[in-house]
Symmetry: D2
Subunit: 252 residues, 4 copies
C-alpha cells in the first residue's frame, strides 16, 4: 500500500521580498529560484527523494527516506547560503494529495506565506523507517509520443510548448481529481506523477482523457519502490519498454 | 513599433543523452536543466535580455541588446562547462511569434533536435544597434489578484498550483492566437509576456477571457523599452500601480 | 585514537582536457572548478564530512561518515552534470597523511592523472560504522590574530594576502612534517587542519614556529568528534573562546 | 605601456556574519564563497576580465573592459541573490600593485571590512574606453614542468600540494617585490600573473629565483592585449609553445 511522504517547501515572505524596496531584477529572481530548486534537487535527490519546482516559491517534494534531521539540515543550509529562508511541512498518506494537504496545513498554521513573522517553520510527521517497504512510493513517468517529430522539429517552439502545456494542464487536473495523484511537468515532453496504487486501466483512462481533451498522445511507464528514486527509475525503464514495444502503458 | 529579437536555445540531442547508456538520475537532470537556465538568466539578464525556461531543453529568450558575438560567447561558455551543448536561432519581427518562428526554423534547418550530427548551430539575424529604440520591446507582467489570500494560504499547494496553471494555460493560448504574444510562467502567480504594441482594451480582453475560461482573476502592468529589462522593469512598476490603485490594467 | 578517513578526489585527465582542442577560456575553467568544489562541499558537508579545494583538480576530503555507496553516488552525480569525471581513492589511518598516502596510491594504481584510459576509478577501505567513535576525527581551526586590523584595513589586498599566504605555507609544511597533519587554507585568514591527537604544547609549537618563520601570529581552536563537522564545529567554538579569553590555544 | 584596471571585491562585514548568531557550518561557507567566486568569474570573464579568488572574502580582479555601470550591476546582482553584499574599489596604473593599492584605499576609506555600517561601497576610476590599447594588459601564465610526472602521479596529494604551494609562495613574493606584479594560484600547477611590461630576462630571473628558493621548476608564457582575456589567451598559447619547444619563457 502506498505511503507517500510529501514535503511542502515554501519560501518565507517571498512575494514582499521581491519588491522591497524596489522590484528586483527579474533575471536575478529567476536565477535565485532555479538555483534554490537545483540545490533541493541535489540534496533531496541524493537521499532518494524527488522534488518538483511547481511554482518555485512553493515546491513539492516526495521525501520518503528523509527524516526530521534531514529536513532541519536542509533548512539550515538554505538559510546559510540564500537571502531567503524556507518553511517545511511534511505529511504521510496513502493518497499523495492527502499527504500534501496535511503538509500544507502545517505550514499555513505557522503563518501566512506573506508574513514577516514566520521564518523557518518545520512541522510534520515522518514515515517511520521500520515501516518502510517496497510499495511505499508509486511513480508514473509520462511522455508525449514522438514529440520531436510531431512538434519540436516542425512547429515553432512556442506552439510546441502550447501543445505540451495543454496536455499537461489536462493531465494534472484529471489525475488529481480522479486519483489524488500529483503530476509535475519536468521539462521536454515529460511529466512525473506521484500516484496511489493504480491499475493499467486507470492509466489508460488518463491517457484517453488527455487525447480527447487536449489532443495530445501520451504514454506512461510505472514503477514502485521504497523511495521516489527507486520507483521513478523503474518507471523510466518501463517507459523505455513502451518505446520499444510501441505500447502505451507499461509497469516495471 | 515593436522589433523583438527572439532567440531559441535548444540543447543538442538532449533526449537521447538523458537515457544513454541508461536513464540518468532524474534529480541530476533537474539540477542540470535548472542550473543551465540560471546561467542563461545571468548572462542574458545582465545584458538587458530576458530568458524563460519554457521546456528547459528548449528555452526562449528575448535578446534585444545582444549581438552575434554575445551569442557565440554564450555558446562557447556552455560548451566549456556542461556535458551538453546548445544550438541558437535568432529572429527579429514586430510580432514576437513571427520572430520566434524564424528563430526556430533556423535551428531546425541545421538538423533535428535529436540528431547527433548537429552541435552548436548558430544562425540568425540581429536587431541592428543603430535602429534600436525605446519602443522595440513591449513586456506585460501579469499576476493573480490576491493569490496568497485566495490560494496559497487556503488550499493545499497542488490545488493552488492547478488554479494558477489553468489560468496560465488559458492566457498563453489566448495571447498567442489573438496577438502573437508569448506568455511565460515565471513562478509564484506571475506570467511575463513579450507582446506587440497592444491597447488597454486588448489587455482587458485577455483578462476577461481568462476569468471566464479558467475562473482566475488576473491584473497586468505593461511597459516598453529598448531592452526586455527596461520594458519589464517598467511593467513591474505598473503592476505595483495596479496593486495600489485597485485597477486591472496599467501602463508605465 | 584518531581514525581519519581521507578521500582523494582527482578529476580524470583534466590537464589535457583544458587545452583540447584549444586552450579553454580561463574564467570558464575557474567557474567549472569552483562549482565542482561547491557541489562536493554540499554533498560531503551535509553528510558530516569536510572537503578542501587544495589544487581544485585534486581535492582532499575527510569523509568519516560516508561509506562506499555515498562515494559511488557522488561519482555518478558528477558524471551526470559535468563535462569531466572524477576518480576517488579512500584510506583510513590514525595519522591523516598516512590515510591520504593510501588513498592517493589507490588512484595512482588505477592510472595516471593524465591518462585518457582512466575514468571514474573508485578504490579504498572505509571506516567501519560499528567502530566509529567520538575521537575519530581531530580538527584544528587556526586564524590570524586581528587580521582585519593588522592587514585587511591597512595594507593593499595583495600584501595582506602575501602575509596570510606566507603564514599558511609555513604552517602547512610544519604540521605535515612534524605531525602528519593536513592543513588547508579555507579563505579569509582561516586554516583548517585534520590532525592526529595533539597536545596543547604541540599546537603552541606550531604557532611559535609560524611566528618565527613567517612573522604571522596565529591562534587555534581544537575539537574532536565522530565526524569532521562535529570536530570542526567544536573547534570553531574553541576558537571563539580564544577570542574572548585572549588565549592562543583552546580545546573544546 | 601597461594600464591595468584592478578591482578589489570585498564582502561586507563577512567575518562577523560567519559567526552570528553561532558559527555557521563550514561547508556552507565554503559553498557560498566558491559560488560567489564562480559568479564573478562568469560575469567578469565574459566581459573580457579576470578575477582571482585570493582569500575569497577579498577577491582581486583585472577589469579592463568593464566600466562603472558594469560594476554597479554586478553589485546589484550579488545583493539580490546572496545573503551578503560586496564593496568594490577600482584603480588604474601602469604597475598592477599600484592600481590595487588605489583600489584598496578606496574601499578602506568607506569603512572597515568588519563594519556593519559599510554596505555596497563603490569607488574608483576607470580606464577610459578611448585610451584602451593592445598593450594595456600583460598576463604571464606559469606552470610547473612535468608536475604530473614529478608530483601528482608519484607523491601523495598533500606532498604534491606542498611543493606547488611553496613554489607559489616564493613566486608571488618575488614578483610583487621585484616588479609590482600580482601572481595568483589558479589550480593544478598553474599561476597567472598580472604584470607590468617585463623582459625575457626578468621572467627568467623569476624562474631562477623559484628554482633556487623553493626547488620548483617553472616555465612561463606571456601575452598582452586590450583585455585580460586577450592577454591571458595569448599567454596560454605561448605556454603551449614552451611545452613543444622545451623552452622556459615564451612571448606570444
Amino acid at each position: 500500500m502506498t505511503a507517500a511522504q510529501l514535503t511542502l517547501v515554501q519560501i518565507d515572505n517571498y512575494g514582499p521580498w521581491t519588491v522591497t524596496p524596489e522590484p528586483r531584477r527579474e533575471m536575478d529572481l529567476q536565477t535565485l529560484q532555479s538555483r534554490l530548486f537545483a540545490d533541493l534537487a541535489q540534496y533531496i535527490g541524493n537521499r532518494g527523494g524527488y522534488v518538483f519546482f511547481t511554482r518555485f516559491d512553493n515546491m513539492v517534494a516526495v521525501t520518503n527516506g528523509l527524516d526530521r534531521r534531514d529536513h532541519e539540515l536542509l533548512q539550515e543550509s538554505v538559510g546559510n547560503r540564500y537571502p531567503v529562508t524556507v518553511s517545511l511541512g511534511v505529511g504521510v498518506d496513502e493518497v499523495p494529495i492527502e499527504a500534501l494537504e496535511t503538509a500544507t496545513e502545517r505550514v499555513q498554521a505557522a503563518g501566512s506565506a506573506q508574513s514577516s513573522d514566520r521564518s523557518e517553520a518545520l512541522a510534520g510527521e515522518f514515515r517511520d523507517g521500520d515501516d518502510e517497504g517496497e510499495g511505499d512510493v508509486h511513480v508514473a513517468h509520462f511522455d508525449v509520443n514522438d514529440a520531436t517529430g510531431k512538434y519540436t522539429d516542425r512547429l515553432n517552439e512556442f506552439d510546441s510548448f502550447i501543445n505540451i502545456e495543454q496536455g499537461y494542464a489536462s493531465l494534472m487536473k484529471y489525475m488529481r481529481e480522479e486519483h489524488g495523484a500529483l503530476s509535475f511537468f519536468v521539462g521536454g515532453d515529460n511529466v512525473i506523477a506521484a500516484c496511489p496504487d493504480l491499475s493499467h486501466d486507470e492509466y489508460m483512462g488518463a491517457i484517453d482523457h488527455v487525447a480527447a481533451d487536449a489532443d495530445v498522445q501520451l504514454k506512461v511507464g510505472v514503477g514502485s519502490g521504497e523511495t521516489p528514486h527507486e520507483a521513478g527509475y523503474a518507471a523510466k525503464h518501463a517507459l523505455e519498454d513502451c518505446r520499444y514495444e510501441g505500447t502505451l502503458v507499461e509497469f516495471a
